[in-house]
């Protein structure tokens, strides 16, 4: 049988996903496949478009490769838009020719709506949809001050963030009385507005633009219907999207009243040989402006072409969970309570900046929708209640109350029905996961590769893990707490083995208690345990191969394979002479310098072989290693304290230096950060540190288990008005208990939250010595303090250790050819991928 011609118009997210699905079906061999894309570039991830401004390139965002298309014999025509469809002759036309089809799939997406305002054709009026649009915005923003986004919806706020990241003063102008009118209600919108203004984006609601004219102080001036105006250098229109249905219209396919190509459940249009998927398609009078429904259409389409009679698109959930300008926003189902009889429960904490609303059914049994602003914590649980129509608990308000006020814990995986959707990107239900486990998948990794769950946006990772763990446990599979395939033990158990049996090398440990040769999970973990127990040099022959590259070379590897160097600057206090030395060394080796967030100076761009020489010079000037590379104590940040500050009540700098000197070099399950503030104004931000110390009239208050980073957590007040000695012995105990019992890569916050009994238990162990190990913990810490050595000092003095720092052992003079540099703001930096000149 001769092959049929399948033509796909549009090489966007959905068009590409359709091809990926189609090549997995037997039907792929029935077709000669041709794809036309109007854009110059291969399909890319539009959802993460904004990352283009934070350094991602087209190839980072690309969804496939030209090789992939070639391999599957798909004829890809980029930069070749289709101009006409002749349904009679079954051909599509482009400026370059005519191509016959038997089946035609339209995946033309949508285009940004630009409101008909006089002056909107100014070259500095732009839109936000394609990589080319972003190039235009970048060019327009060069050297100017202000940018306005017209439209306060999801995409508008994202565009505002982009303008901000380009260094512009950003404004959002919205016609409606609130932000995100589609997803949020009045209170939610108001809170979002407040939060966004706090981060410096100005929001103007209820503003209708009447014209755009030349500006006085900036390029443009927007005049509003209420007589007010705003001056700006560029305008990005983000006032909604419209389905790209031009081709379909002109060839006479059925089109919805407000646009969109009408399709049935099989994604077929009014012409049985023409189909439409993604944002250009109108199903049941609905356009779906999100990627997941488009992917579902793509899957349906592939099945339909594969002859599957059952395949049908049956609608999609439009719930969204986002972080906009750093603010959590969630909207689920019927968020506005439009279902007849619907009732709402609201929780509004203006102090914390949390707004939560649940929309429940008339009988109070089901969750119909929800709105969250400020904290998406309850989102996963609420979504499951809504999607799976699970009966609400007796007092449904507990679902949105904070936990301390009786809030309900998250919905356990058992409560989810088989049909519960776990991963919406890949349409994986709890039933699919159970099926995969029954078919032999014995761990999370296997379930992931079998079902593809959690390999899209990644938003479902936590939920997937709890479901898999619970299902495995139910089947009697012991969910392994083993650190990896080489040791049947947790980190804590390994710690005990090492300590109790006096084991000093990895080889002995794996020979006696493990199997195989180790890996990049267990080796660094054991190295850290050995360091805590015996404190030998990280580059001792037995330990060197265990370390992560940063520890091995005692520097942080950068994206181009060079290293950064961070000397210790205890408490952030540094003499002018030492500053000069840093400057001299940086100049001599042409290093990029930057002040870090930890009150010290980072020197970037050193090659492997330069590291020992640089350190020789730094050590001669009195510097020590800063352990920026290690899972170890990093910095003790300080404020200037009573020595200078008129409010200071204790010498915070002195205490910070004392603490940094005491705990420097301490290896731990994860990095540890401290800060000391000289009074309650808290300029050192001590409450966001693992160990935070705040001076009082009578001594020191100690806070523990805080951190910044991915999941910020305020430290908990642990003890008050401690003397210097009490402070040190309390910290000794907390840290040593952490180092001994935490899991690998677990920071103090997560460790404490996972201790049975939490903070209270930790207080009992440390302050009341409930386990009777207080003295032992202090002694252990004391012995580590006594055996401290500057790792770099030992290394530069030892020719054997220095050997390790040769870039190419047989060619000392050879420079790594891939390290290419350019200048920016008077310093060197690595060239970007897009700037690399062919060798």
């Amino acid at each position: 049988m001769s092959k049929k011609n399948l033509i796909v118009i549009g090489n966007g997210m959905v068009g590409h996903h359709f091809l990926e699905k189609l090549v997995d079906t037997p039907a792929v061999t029935d077709f000669n496949i041709t794809v036309f894309g109007e854009e110059k570039l291969l399909a890319y991830d539009r959802v993460h478009l904004s990352e283009y401004f934070s350094g991602s390139t087209h190839s980072d965002l690309a969804m496939g490769t030209a090789e992939w298309y070639a391999e599957h014999q798909i004829d890809l025509h980029l930069d070749e838009g289709v101009t006409d469809i002749d349904r009679e002759r079954q051909v599509v036309k482009t400026p370059r020719g005519e191509y016959p089809y038997d089946e035609l799939v339209l995946a033309t997406g949508s285009y940004p709506f630009v409101p008909p305002i006089k002056g909107n054709d100014n070259p500095h009026c732009l839109v936000y949809r394609t990589l080319e649009d972003l190039d235009d915005i970048r060019a327009s923003a060069k050297g100017v001050k202000t940018g306005v986004v017209v439209g306060g919806g999801l995409l508008g706020l994202e565009a505002a963030n982009a303008l901000k990241s380009l260094g512009l003063e950003a404004h959002v102008v919205e016609f409606a009385p609130r932000l995100m009118p589609v997803q949020l209600d009045r209170d939610g919108g108001a809170l979002l507005k407040h939060k966004i203004e706090e981060i410096g984006v100005q929001v103007h609601t209820e503003k209708a633009t009447t014209e755009i004219v030349d500006g006085d102080s900036a390029r443009l001036r927007m005049n509003f219907s209420d007589e007010s105006h705003l001056e700006t250098d560029l305008i990005v229109f983000s006032a909604g999207i419209r389905p790209q249905d031009t081709l379909a219209r002109s060839c006479g396919l059925d089109i919805g009243e407000r646009g969109g190509i009408i399709i049935n459940d099989q994604c077929t249009t009014s012409d049985p040989h023409i189909h439409a998927i993604g944002e250009c398609a109108l199903w049941s009078e609905k356009i779906f402006g999100l990627v997941a429904p488009g992917y579902t259409m793509a899957r349906t389409m592939a099945s339909v072409l594969n002859g599957d009679q059952e395949a049908a698109f049956t609608g999609a959930d439009m719930s969204t969970k986002l972080k906009l300008l750093g603010v959590d926003v969630g909207s689920i189902g019927d968020a506005h309570g439009q279902t007849p009889g619907a009732k709402s429960i609201r929780f509004n904490d203006e102090q914390a900046g949390h707004y939560r609303r649940m929309v429940i059914s008339e009988d109070g049994k089901k969750l119909l929708g929800a709105i969250l602003v400020g904290d998406n914590g309850p989102y996963d649980t609420l979504l499951q209640y809504a999607l799976n129509e699970i009966d609400l608990p007796e007092s449904p308000e507990t679902l949105i109350l904070p936990e301390s006020e009786g809030g309900a814990p998250a919905l356990g995986p058992d409560a989810l029905p088989e049909t519960a959707s776990i991963c919406s990107c890949h349409n994986v239900t709890k039933g699919d996961i159970c099926g995969a486990i029954d078919a032999g998948c014995a761990d999370l990794g296997a379930v992931k590769s079998e079902t593809k769950a959690s390999t899209g946006c990644g938003g479902c990772a936590a939920l997937l893990k709890t479901v898999v763990d619970s299902e495995l446990e139910k089947r009697g599979v012991e969910v392994s707490k083993d650190i990896c395939e080489h040791f049947p033990y947790s980190r804590q158990e390994l710690f005990h083995l090492v300590k109790v049996s006096g084991i000093r090398t990895f080889q002995t440990l794996i020979r006696d208690h493990g199997k195989g040769h180790g890996c990049d999970i267990c080796k660094p973990a054991v190295a850290s345990i050995l360091a805590t127990c015996w404190n030998e040099h990280v580059l001792a022959t037995d330990h060197v191969p265990l370390q992560d590259t940063n520890d091995t070379f005692m520097a942080n590897m950068q994206k181009n394979g060079t290293y950064s160097i961070v000397p210790r600057v205890p408490g952030g206090e540094i003499t002018p002479d030492k500053l000069i030395v840093l400057g001299q060394v940086a100049k001599e080796y042409n290093l990029y310098t930057k002040i870090t967030g930890g009150q010290r100076i980072d020197l970037f761009g050193a090659t492997l072989s330069e590291l020992p020489e640089i350190w020789e010079k730094l050590i001669a000037a009195g510097f020590e290693t800063g352990h920026a590379y290690g899972k170890a104590l990093r910095t003790v940040k300080s404020c200037v304290g009573s020595t200078w500050c008129r409010y200071g009540v204790q010498d915070s700098v002195g205490m910070a230096i004392h603490l940094e000197d005491r705990y420097k070099g301490l290896r731990a399950p994860h990095k540890i950060k401290f800060a000391v503030s000289g009074c309650t104004r808290e300029c050192a931000e001590a409450q966001s540190k693992d160990i935070g110390v705040i001076a009082t009239e009578n001594g020191w208050n100690l806070y523990v288990c805080g951190n910044g980073g991915m999941r910020p957590r305020h430290g908990d007040l642990f003890a008050t008005d401690l003397s210097d000695e009490e402070l040190v012995s309390t910290i000794d105990r907390v840290l040593m208990f952490y180092v001994r019992t935490a899991d690998r890569l677990q920071r103090t916050s997560v460790w404490m939250e996972n201790l049975e009994g939490g903070l209270d238990y930790l207080k009992q162990v440390v302050l009341e010595d409930s386990l009777g190990i207080g003295a032992e913990l202090e002694e252990h810490m004391e012995s580590l303090v006594g055996t401290y050595q500057c790792e770099w000092k030992t290394a530069v003095e030892d020719p054997e250790k220095r050997k390790r720092f040769r870039e190419f052992v047989n060619a000392p003079e050879k420079k790594d050819p891939v390290q290419q540099w350019t200048m920016e703001r008077d310093q060197k930096r690595p060239v970007l991928e897009s700037e690399v000149e062919p060798a």
Partner: protein
């Protein structure tokens, strides 16, 4: 162009680091030589270039074994490569070049493929 493959001396036993890698420069570009004394054979040579980033770093990764295969983890983004075959464990479409390697007295020799031209590598 050269006619035949040759076994070039790239370093000596003293240059190697047990259970880890070192980088050498060859006519075929940068190569990572690993020495895993607890295995047989104990020597492996693969390209030093991380295929995911194009940077020359693989010799600086952690070695070990996964499901019985000897591997190194890229120090940049931690993908694993089979030291015998060069196959990436996380992505079946990615493979790094491998080189035959042998111990000749104190010398480590690598077989550089015949197609490498001297001028290009210089």
């Amino acid at each position: 162009m050269r006619e035949r493959a040759s076994w070039d001396v790239v370093c000596t036993v003293d240059d190697l680091i047990a259970e880890s890698g070192v980088a050498v420069w060859t006519e075929d570009g940068p190569v990572a030589v690993f020495y895993l004394p607890h295995r047989l054979p104990a020597l492996f040579a693969i390209s030093h270039t991380d295929p995911f980033t194009g940077k020359n770093v693989l010799a600086r990764g952690i070695t070990g074994d996964l499901k019985g295969q000897p591997v190194v983890a890229s120090p940049l983004y931690k993908q694993h490569f089979n030291l015998e075959t060069g196959q990436c464990l996380e992505d079946e479409t990615v493979q790094v070049k491998t080189y035959p390697v042998l111990l000749d007295g104190q010398n480590i020799r690598i077989e550089v493929p015949a197609s490498v031209s001297r001028t290009a590598a210089a």
